[in-house]
C-alpha cells in the first residue's frame, strides 16, 4: 500500500457519517491477542520479534477481510508516515514510537486494522463512523475467528486470552466511542460528567488514547475492565452510556443557544474569522477553533460551511497530513503552511479538499 494514496480520503473516524454523527465521531472495538509460543513483546528478543512479525504477517495475509488487507512495514516507515497513520487512528502512538520489527494490515475501507508487535503480538481494531458499536463488534468477531483458525492465541481456561498487561486479560477487549462535546466544555459540565463515568468504571481519554490530551473537545470513552464479563456485556456497558452523554451535550447546546446566543454566536464567529485570516496557527489552536466552528455549523449559526468540510480540515491540518499534502519538511514552517492551507480552503481555492470531503 502506498501511504500517499490515503491522503485522497479522510479516514473512517472523521468521515462524519453514521448515526448521531453530530456528536459521536466514531465507534471502535479492539482486541488484544498473543501467540502462545512466544514471549510477550517487551521481553522478546529482536529475533523473536522478527519471527512473530513474519508468522502473523504470513498467516494474516490469507484472511479474507472486506476488500482485502494491505500490509505496511511500520518498522521501515519514515517518521512522518508513522505519524500519518496515528492521525488516522490506524496505529497507536505506542506502535509508531516502538522499535524493531512491526507492521499493520489495513483493509481498503480503513475500518479494520491489525497491528503486529504493539504492546501485544496482535491488536485487532474495527473503527466505524458515527455510533455503531454493535456493527464494529460484529465485524471484529469475524476477523478474530478467522485469525484464530490460523494461529494459536495464548489462552488459559480460567484467565481467558492472555495479555502482556494484566489490565487487558480475559476478553482483551476495549470498546470506545469518540465524542465531540464542545457545549459540555463551554458550560463547564464536562468534569462532572467524567467523574460520574469514572464511578461506573468507564475511562475518559483524549484524542489519541492513553495519556493523550483532549484536543478540540474530542473525548474517548471506554471500558476499563476486561475480565469477568462477556464481550457483549462490555460492549453494552459503553453503548448504554452514550445516549445519556448525547442527551447532555444536546441539552447544553440548546442552553447555549437559548440563554447566551449572542455570546456563543460571537465565539463561533471569531473562531471562524481567525481560521480564515490567520497567517500562522498551531495544530492545537486549529483543532480548538475548528471544534467551535463545527458546533456553530450544527447550531445553524454559520451557514456557508459543511460539516464534512470541517471534518476534512480537522484531519488535514494535523502535522503529518499537512506535511504530506503541502510537501513541507516540517522544519518550523508548519504553522505558516497550516494557516495558508486554511485560508485557501475557506477562500474556495483548494478544490481537492472539497472534492475529497464530499
Amino acid at each position: 500500500m502506498r501511504i500517499d494514496t490515503l491522503t485522497d480520503t479522510i479516514g473512517e473516524w472523521l468521515r462524519g457519517t453514521g448515526p448521531e454523527s453530530d456528536i459521536v465521531m466514531s465507534s471502535r472495538v479492539r482486541l488484544a491477542r498473543n501467540l502462545a509460543q512466544f514471549p510477550f513483546v517487551s521481553r522478546a528478543t529482536d529475533q523473536d520479534r522478527a519471527e512473530i512479525e513474519r508468522v502473523l504477517r504470513e498467516r494474516i495475509s490469507g484472511v479474507p477481510v472486506g476488500r482485502g488487507l494491505d500490509y505496511i512495514d511500520v518498522g521501515r516507515l519514515e517518521e512522518v508516515d508513522r505519524r500519518f497513520l496515528v492521525e488516522r487512528q490506524l496505529i497507536s502512538r505506542e506502535h509508531a514510537d516502538a522499535q524493531g520489527a512491526r507492521g499493520v494490515a489495513i483493509d481498503g475501507a480503513e475500518q479494520v486494522s491489525l497491528m503486529i508487535n504493539e504492546e501485544d503480538h496482535l491488536r485487532i481494531q474495527c473503527l466505524h463512523s458515527g455510533l455503531d458499536l454493535r456493527g464494529a463488534w460484529e465485524q471484529i468477531k469475524i476477523v478474530d475467528d478467522q485469525v484464530e483458525r490460523v494461529v494459536p492465541y495464548a489462552f488459559h481456561p480460567r484467565w481467558g486470552y492472555l495479555t502482556a498487561c494484566p489490565t487487558n486479560v480475559g476478553t482483551g477487549i476495549r470498546v470506545s466511542v469518540m465524542l465531540h462535546l464542545p457545549a459540555l466544555v463551554i458550560t463547564r459540565q464536562i468534569d462532572k460528567v467524567f467523574r460520574s463515568l469514572h464511578k461506573i468504571s468507564l475511562a475518559v481519554r483524549g484524542l489519541y488514547g492513553e495519556g493523550s490530551q483532549a484536543m478540540g473537545d474530542f473525548y474517548q470513552i471506554s471500558n476499563q475492565t476486561t475480565l469477568g464479563r462477556t464481550e457483549e456485556e462490555l460492549v453494552q456497558q459503553v453503548a448504554d452510556v452514550v445516549p445519556v452523554l448525547i442527551d447532555y451535550e444536546r441539552r447544553a447546546r440548546e442552553f447555549l443557544v437559548r440563554e447566551t446566543q449572542q455570546n456563543v454566536h460571537d465565539q463561533v464567529s471569531r473562531a471562524y474569522g481567525i481560521l480564515r485570516t490567520a497567517q500562522t496557527i498551531t495544530n492545537e489552536e486549529t483543532m480548538q477553533l475548528l471544534s467551535r466552528v463545527r458546533m456553530g455549523v450544527l447550531l445553524g449559526l454559520i451557514g456557508d460551511v459543511k460539516i464534512a468540510d470541517i471534518n476534512s480540515l480537522l484531519m488535514r491540518t494535523q502535522p503529518a497530513h499537512l506535511r504530506k499534502l503541502c510537501g513541507s519538511d516540517g522544519a518550523g514552517a508548519d504553522d505558516i503552511e497550516r494557516a495558508r492551507y486554511l485560508r485557501q480552503h475557506f477562500e474556495g481555492g483548494d478544490a481537492s479538499t472539497r472534492a475529497a470531503a464530499n
Binding site: A36, F40, S42, R43, Y153, F155, C165, T171, R205, L227
Partner: protein, 193 residues
C-alpha cells in the same frame, strides 16, 4: 502502569500481605499518600485494640515481611525467565506462562483491577492439544523455554543439544499450527565444525 484511582502514572507499588495472601496496589503519588495515611490510621486503631488485650493484632516484624517479599520477588518464570520483581517494576508480564507460574500472586492483583477472577467471554474453538484443557495453550508455551535452551546450547557450541531443542520446538509447533513452520528459529550453523 496507571494509578488504580486515576489516570496518572503509578509511581508507588505497594504490596500488602493480608491473612497469608498478597495484594498489589499501584498508585500515583497523591493517591499513595491518601492510601498510606489511611493505613496508618488503621494501624493506630489496631494498636489501641491490642492495648486492650487483642493478642492477635501483634504486627509482623519488618524483617519478616522484607524476607517474604524478597523471596517472592526472586521467583522467576521457567519459560521466559522474568522475575516477579521485574514484572512489578515494569507492569508487563514476560510470557503467557507467567499466568500459570505466578497464578497465586497475580490472583489478588487481577481481582483488584477487574473485580473478577474468572473469564466468562469467548473461548477459542480449537480443541486442546497434548492433554491441554480445551482452549488452553500452556503446553505450547513450553516452546519459549525450549527456544532459550536452544540459544544457550548454540552459545556454548553444543550443536547436538541445539538440534534436539530445535526438533522439539518444530514438533510442538507443527502439532499446534499445522501447515508450515510457525516460528522455530533454526540454530545457526555458522562456525560449526
Amino acid at each position: 502502569m496507571k494509578c488504580q484511582q486515576c489516570d496518572n502514572p503509578a509511581v508507588f507499588h505497594i504490596t500488602e500481605l493480608e491473612a497469608g495472601s498478597v495484594r498489589e496496589v499501584h498508585l500515583c503519588e497523591e493517591h499513595a499518600r491518601t492510601y498510606l495515611n489511611q493505613a496508618e490510621d488503621e494501624a493506630g486503631e489496631s494498636a489501641k485494640a491490642a492495648g486492650k488485650g487483642g493478642a492477635l493484632s501483634t504486627p509482623l516484624g519488618v524483617g519478616e515481611i522484607a524476607d517474604d517479599l524478597a523471596a517472592l520477588d526472586k521467583r522467576c518464570c521457567d519459560m521466559c525467565g522474568i522475575t516477579f520483581f521485574e514484572f512489578r517494576n515494569q507492569g508487563r508480564l514476560g510470557c503467557p506462562h507467567d499466568y500459570v507460574q505466578f497464578e497465586r500472586e497475580l490472583e489478588p492483583l487481577i481481582a483488584n483491577i477487574h473485580g473478577a477472577t474468572e473469564h466468562t467471554g469467548r473461548r477459542p474453538t480449537r480443541p486442546g492439544v497434548g492433554g491441554e484443557a480445551p482452549g488452553g495453550t500452556d503446553a505450547l508455551s513450553a516452546v519459549i523455554g525450549m527456544r532459550r535452551d536452544m540459544r544457550e546450547a548454540i552459545s556454548r557450541e553444543d550443536y547436538e543439544a541445539a538440534k534436539e531443542a530445535r526438533d522439539a520446538i518444530r514438533g510442538l509447533e507443527e502439532a499446534w499450527m499445522p501447515g508450515g513452520r510457525g516460528g522455530a528459529s533454526s540454530p545457526s550453523t555458522e562456525g560449526q565444525p
